[in-house]
Structures are given as structure tokens and as C-alpha cells.
Symmetry: C2
Subunit: 242 residues, 2 copies
Amino acid sequence: MIANLAATLLTKLTVSNRLDGEDVQAISRLPIRLRHLQAQEMIIADGAQSEDCCLIAEGFAFRAKSTIDGSRQVLSLHIPGEVPDLQSLHLHIMDHDLMALTPCTVGFIAHDALKALNTARPSVAAAFWRESLIDAAIFREWIVNVGRRSATARMAHLFVEMHQRLKAVGRTHEGEFAFPITQADLADCLGLSTVHVNRVLQTLRRDGVLAVNRADYHILDMDKMSDIGGFDPTYLHQDPSL
Amino acid sequence: MIANLAATLLTKLTVSNRLDGEDVQAISRLPIRLRHLQAQEMIIADGAQSEDCCLIAEGFAFRAKSTIDGSRQVLSLHIPGEVPDLQSLHLHIMDHDLMALTPCTVGFIAHDALKALNTARPSVAAAFWRESLIDAAIFREWIVNVGRRSATARMAHLFVEMHQRLKAVGRTHEGEFAFPITQADLADCLGLSTVHVNRVLQTLRRDGVLAVNRADYHILDMDKMSDIGGFDPTYLHQDPSL
DNA sequence: CGGACTGTTGATTCGAATCAAAACCGGTGG
DNA sequence: CCACCGGTTTTGATTCGAATCAACAGTCCG
């Protein structure tokens, strides 16, 4: 079990980082507390302080922030192998919510254990730091997305990003991937209304670039979809040598 | 000179981090190469690889990304004491532009020197990591800003944020601060058109919450401005103990 | 079967973009 | 000292993308 969890983490870490055998060993030895979560279950709430980090083993999670007038903005989507609250290692108060998007299996790793690992293995610390910087790079792209792209481009960009990230951990099959998100949550990712999300989805389907069947997304024409979204993968920093 | 640059960096670092005497010494000994920049001068371009980080000593800088259709989104604004391209330490290719907003004095610090410092003094490494996480926290808030807030709220939020950050390094006087930005650049920060920025500015002035005289911004009613922007300072993580 | 989400459709409104032009400002040079 | 210039700010008229409001259909599940 725990071995499986660590393996998921390692799969993700090695997308963007080089780790040697000792690093892998040390990570595999991390004590991880398993937990199962329901869809929409809160993992850590805005304002809370936590003593551990959450590793997603199976399912999707998201981070979000609510404004006073009740509207919500999703800040990031997280896939298996990611640690969406890695920042809590150094920022001790949450400035947003972390929630399960779908039913999830997650592992909790104590801050103390992670800190000890970082001290013992600087290369692992560097990898985690780099992961948190990639996180920030994705935030930057999302600022561009909601700030300057049309509704259609935004949505296309998000789909290509999710495909690219899932592909890197082997969770796609020729443009197809599981993406279990409601249109309402999509709207909160993109800064749009659900009604408009629904309409934009229809045009993407009508134009033959996307097929959706429940949670099964299929990007039928990746080049066209990338074009529509103005997608450039540089910001994902998936090449460990760069 | 170099001592002055390091002092500016230390002022900023100690807003959010605890550093001991040895840390301060080590930072003060960093070799820094001085440079003067004109307004709108490129510091590092999207796609470039750099060997050093840029410390702002005087003036303002910004990071921005351009979409294919030519529009631009500003991702962050940077004030004296900040290192806007700290991420280049671990992400070796730029995924956005870094430019001077105003005439700037900046110091360049070699990656090698910073990496040596991080190895020698883990507490400094932790401080820099934390700084980069605060950077990410600000990105998150900006996603909310452009994604879910009205034009007026966005602008108010940005003004309060800038005031709060400048205040922390002693660059405000009772709601007044120098903020030398054109309405066009403001528009690119907020995902708005310049025309609309101009109109929103007028309403803020008319409502008596803001006075602007060239680059001199004066928030006349901080509570009201914070209210309009829905501002909550938690995300700035200015308390080193949290 | 009924109820609660989720997705879909249509009609209407509204905030902000766009287009276009004028006013303003600081600097430069004749 | 004033005419001129480029950049910035301001104003008005119009258009447009997306939100809102409201209702209805589909699907899952107890």
C-alpha cells in the first residue's frame, strides 16, 4: 500500500526531476498515513494550519478560493502523484481550500518526516522545491488564461494542459483521458458561468475537436485544440534537464 | 553599494522570515553585479536561460506573458528587495518575460553563488523557498482577481496589495505610496482594457477612496478600499511565525 | 417513484471591449 | 520661448461576449 503510494509520488517526481537510487529509497521509506475521501470532501480549509502534506494516490483534487460575495475560483487541479499542499511545509496557514474533486485515495505525510528527508537528501529537497516552482508556473499560466483568453481558448487550454500532465504520468490513451469534473466546477476553473461553459463545450464538440462521454474526455484533434487554446507546454517544465 | 543592495534584500527577506546573524553575514557577502535599467527594458525574455538572479534595488519590475494574438497579461509586480526570477534557480528556461516597469537599479547574483549559499546555510535556503511560495500565493490571489472579481474590485485589491507590500518594507506614508505605472500597464495587470481602467479609476476618485497625482497614489480610505477589493492579507504571509 | 444533482436551452441584460477622436503632458529642438 | 512630437489620459458612441434569469430534460440512486 504505502509502497504503492510512494511509487505514485515517484512517478510524478521523475517527470520533472532526476533522482538517484538513494533518493528513491529514502522517498520509499516515508511514513504515509492512508485515507479515503468522498467527492467534494474538504482536505484542508482556508485559514487552517496543518502538520502534514497530502499526496494524491488516486482521484483528482483541487484548490479553490471563495470571494465574499460567494463566488468561487478554482486555483489548480491535481492529479495522482502530486502533493497539492506542499507549500504548507513553509507557509503555516492555508490561504485557500484544498478539496477532493472526485472520490480520492490520499496519503498524509508528516511535515517532520518531509523536513528530515529534505535535510538528509538535498537533491530531494531540490526536487520538491522545483515541484513547487512548477506549481507556480502553472498558476502564472492560469492568470493568463482567465485574464486574457476568450472563453473557448481558456477551455481548450485547460483540456490540453490536463492531457499533457496526465500523459506524463501515463494516464492517457491517444488523446483520451478520464476527467471527472462537472460543468459547474469547470466554470469555477475558468472564471465563467456554468451556462457559458455548457455552450462552449457544445461548440468544441460541434467543431469536432472534442468528444465527451461522462468523465471520458477525448481530444479528437490535438493540434487544433492546442491552437484554439494558444497552448505552449514550456511552462509545465517537464524536461528535468531544463 | 553592494552592501546597500544586500541590505535591501535583507529588509524584504526579514518581512516574512527569521534570519540569524550568521545568515545575515552570509547574505551580505554575496557577490552582486550592479546594473541600471531603463523603463520597459527587458531583463530576461520568455524562452531564455539565465545564469543569475536579479535583485531589485530601486524601482519596479514586472513579469508578463504574451498571447499569440498580441495581448499581454502582467503576472506580478515587483518592488525593491525582491528577486523576481528566483525560480530560475531550479527552472532553467523562462516561461515569461521579466521587465523593468520604471527605471531600475538591479543587482545580478550568480546562480552558483546562491546555490553555494543555500548549501552552506539551510535556513537561508528555507527563506528563499518560502519567498518563492509566497510568490505563488500572490499568483493564486491574482487568479481570483482576474477570474472572479469585478473591474472595480480588482483594481481596489491590487492597490491595497501594493500598499501592504510596500508598507512592509517602509515605502509608504499613511496610505500614500509611489506607484509609477501607466493605465495601459494597469490594464495588463487586471485583464482589462485601458479605457475601462481609466473609467474605474475615475469612479474610485469620485467616491473619495483614492487620489492619484502622477505616480503618487493615496488611498484615502483604507477600510473602504479593502472592502471594495475584498482584501484579506493572509495570502501575503508576512508573519514569519506562521 | 421521487428527489437531487447535472446538463441543456432560450430570452434578456449588463459589464467591459472596441473604435475613434480629442485633450493633456513632458520633453526636444529650432 | 514656442511649436512640435510621442506617449498617456480622457471622452463618447457602439458592439459584443458572457452573465443572469428561468425553465426544462436527463441521469443516477436510495
